[in-house]
């Protein structure tokens, strides 16, 4: 990691918007490629997620780092595309499945995914299973579902079956998580991504898009 990359990384992990903007401007002035700047910041954002999960920093810090990243995109956007826009990594529908109202973990995961550059359609908690199908039909290429109860996690399997019935299973990667959900359950029901934590889910979703 060279000096510019380190300065960018450290500014992101410090989670202060002015510091992040200064580091982005310095790296840009030093001739660092916009894509390299974004990649470095994205790597730091993963570290920010881990620090949050370990209790070293708090959700406002995470959002502050994400706000800094958004500002950086505004600065770098014109250099990345003609119209100044930056494409999202993917369009994600997120929700806690029908019958389940435990959505804290899902909301944190939505936040982490948003910080990593995904566009999020968060449907909240107790989401009717058909809503996930509608969102995939509407263009979401990731379908994220959470559950905290063994009695509700079976809804994830139902959504996958509904996707197959509708002929849209290949339109979206299915991500699942929540306390009772495991990799074995993910494999059993034919989901694509299991996340032990919000940061792990985000890393796996990013890996799919790279």
């Amino acid at each position: 990691m060279d000096a510019n990359e380190k300065a960018l990384y450290d500014a992101m992990v410090a989670c202060k918007v002015p510091g992040i903007i200064d580091a982005v401007n310095a790296a840009d002035a030093a001739g660092m490629a916009p894509t390299a700047i974004i990649d470095t910041m994205a790597g730091a954002m993963s570290e920010v997620g881990v620090l949050f999960e370990r209790g070293r920093i708090f959700l406002p810090h995470v959002l502050s780092a994400a706000a800094g990243m958004n500002k950086a995109m505004e600065i770098l956007g014109p250099k990345l595309s003609k119209d100044g826009s930056v494409a999202a990594r993917g369009l994600v529908v997120m929700g806690t499945v029908e019958g389940d109202v435990h959505d804290i973990g899902k909301s944190i995961c939505s936040t982490m995914l948003q910080c990593a550059g995904f566009e999020i359609h968060d449907l909240g908690r107790d989401v009717p299973l058909g809503k996930f199908i509608e969102e995939v039909k509407g263009g979401c290429n990731f379908c994220g579902m959470s559950a905290l109860m063994t009695t509700t996690m079976t809804g994830m399997k139902t959504v996958i079956e509904m996707m197959k019935t509708e002929g849209i299973r290949d339109k979206a990667k299915v991500m699942i998580g929540g306390a009772p959900v495991t990799q074995a359950y993910c494999d059993k029901i034919g989901a694509d991504i299991y996340g032990e934590s919000a940061s792990e889910t985000t890393e796996k979703a990013k890996a799919v898009t790279e």
Binding site: A67, I104, E196
Partner: protein
């Protein structure tokens, strides 16, 4: 010939590992716990003891006679009288009283809790007058200390279930101050509800209250619970108050909530217990989460190192939460008997817990 041992993964699957693999997982799990909670490492003797217990191929493993610990209970008899999904281990024909008596007379529990099926402070508040009548009846038919219990569950105070906007949704819209204000307002409402329920149970001479799954919605919930405990302690200096956590660290959703001058977000069990003590609880329920992708050896060593520091720091008894997905126990609806005994033995021998 390489000898391997049957053990389990954090999701309950059976696996065969060599002693070297088990020891490697124990060291890795302990190191992860040390790094996460910033606690001292276990000694080589302690690591060897964990390895010996994990490798013991007896189906049931237990502690030495004389090292028995106290058993307390959260979630009342819900495991008996409510359906537990696909496991089939619920007995819907069993009422709450019968369930409590089974815990008292068949399982040898030392205290028990009366829990309403909708096990959160907010719904319990609305039926508290029925519950106090039920409590009186059941207290007459039981011998062990019988307390009330519910989860503070601040999530129910946020939209769509409550009047306050969801703080994590506001955060995603970068409305950080509004998010914090929402958490603070919801916490104040929860404090009032805890006060009301405690005031009502006091009228029938209830022996105490178990605050269960605390801080599930983060630091604001932990703050409200601590204030609720403080208030209840003032109401009844002799009340028997338990405070059991929901996770190993307090999520800093608000980030600036303080109690006794300490920031609550990011606290691990050895820090949590100090504020719980200060608030006036009698028992602290320490939680260490299970990683379903790691082995039992990894998880139980991590649980032992984090819990040990908590017990060392505590002035009140520490009861480790040991059930589905916590305390080294795999994430199974019906925790396997070959693991529960091992996990209990390790936490009693290494972490010196006072109860489970």
């Amino acid at each position: 010939m390489v000898v391997d041992y049957v053990t389990r993964m954090g999701d309950g699957r059976r696996v065969r590992l060599t002693k070297e693999q088990i020891m490697s997982d124990i060291v890795a799990g302990m190191s992860d716990g040390v790094d996460a909670a910033c606690v001292p490492e276990l000694s080589q003797d302690e690591l060897d003891h964990i390895c010996e217990v994990v490798c013991d191929q007896s189906k049931i493993t237990s502690i030495e006679a004389g090292k028995e610990v106290v058993l307390s209970k959260d979630a009342g008899a819900i495991k008996f009288n409510q359906d537990n999904g696909g496991s089939g281990n619920a007995m819907p024909c069993m009422g709450r009283l019968e369930g409590i008596l089974v815990y008292e007379r068949a399982f040898g529990f030392d205290s028990m809790e009366l829990a309403w099926m909708d096990y959160s402070v907010k719904p319990v508040k609305s039926i508290i007058n029925c519950e106090t009548a039920n409590y009186e009846q059941m207290a007459l038919m039981t011998t062990i200390p019988l307390i009330m219990g519910a989860m503070p569950n601040l999530g129910l105070y946020y939209a769509p279930d409550g009047p306050h906007p969801n703080p994590t949704d506001l955060m995603r819209e970068f409305k950080i101050e509004e998010s914090m204000a929402s958490s603070e307002a919801a916490a104040e409402q929860l404090i009032k509800d805890i006060h009301y329920t405690c005031q009502e149970i006091e009228k029938v001479g209830c022996e105490g209250y178990n605050f269960d799954t605390v801080a599930s919605a983060g630091d604001a919930e932990f703050y409200a619970t601590l204030k609720g405990i403080e208030d209840y302690r003032k109401m009844n200096p002799n009340a028997y108050i338990e405070c059991g956590m929901s996770a190993e660290n307090v999520l800093g959703i608000h980030g600036q909530m303080e109690y006794d001058g300490k920031i609550l977000g990011g606290m691990y069990p050895h820090e949590q217990v100090k504020v719980v003590e200060k608030a006036g609880a009698n028992i602290f329920g320490a939680v260490v989460n299970t990683n379903t992708s790691k082995s039992f050896a990894w998880n139980v060593a991590r649980s032992a190192v984090i819990t040990k520091e908590c017990v060392k720091t505590a002035k009140i008894p520490v009861h480790a939460n040991m059930g589905m997905g916590v305390g080294g126990i795999p994430m199974c609806e019906l925790p396997p008997v070959d693991i529960t005994g091992r996990a209990a033995k390790i936490l009693i021998d290494i972490a010196n817990i006072d109860g489970i």
